[in-house]
Symmetry: C2
Subunit: 115 residues, 2 copies
């Protein structure tokens, strides 16, 4: 899309695309679900029962971390990950805004038609 649009949108806004992309994977969505309970969970525990390797799980967690959705903290020999709700809330607000913009524009359009 035009460079102008892109720039104007991404200028000082959070990197929505990155966050959405982080959620755009079944495995990572499942991880988010699992962490949504609030309790920090270690990599091993998150890997337990999974069909993929611990390394793969780790990579997914790092993706979520770079997107700001999750934070990690070492606890002895294990690394525990916890959810951060703020970026998720930001996405929610973003989606609301898109819907609202639709309403407003369509509202104006309706007024125009009715005149």
């Amino acid at each position: 899309m035009s460079r102008q649009i892109h720039k104007s949108l991404a200028a000082h806004e959070p990197p929505y695309a990155v966050a959405f992309a982080a959620l755009g994977d079944e495995t990572r969505l499942a991880l988010v679900q699992r962490l949504s309970a609030g309790r920090p969970v270690s990599i091993s525990e998150l890997t337990a029962g999974a069909r993929i390797t611990r390394q793969a799980v780790t990579k997914h967690l790092r993706v979520l971390e770079r997107a700001g959705i999750v934070r990690s903290q070492r606890w002895g020999r294990e690394t525990r990950f916890a959810l951060d709700r703020r970026p998720l809330h930001d996405l929610q607000v973003y989606l609301e805004r898109v819907g609202r913009q639709w309403d407003e524009t369509l509202g104006r359009l309706k007024v125009f038609v009715e005149e």
Copy 2:
């Protein structure tokens, strides 16, 4: 992610991951923005001013369409795309739910601690 968790979550729910993934690209997010005005827009118009080829734009639009976020309709020689707000709203609700689950679980935890 254990198979059980995955299945129980994805069983009859919308394919959230697919929708999130569709939004997880700057170009496609820009397209969504542009369509959020409500007016159906043709591929050519969406391509105008973009730095990528019409074909690339088309591919992105198809991705959005498969995710249900956008719908296409032929209008003479052009194909116009329009936004569908429902899937976006579903995502919004999904994100709300994650946040709410956090609150509830943490609430329970707090009660437990205080007893």
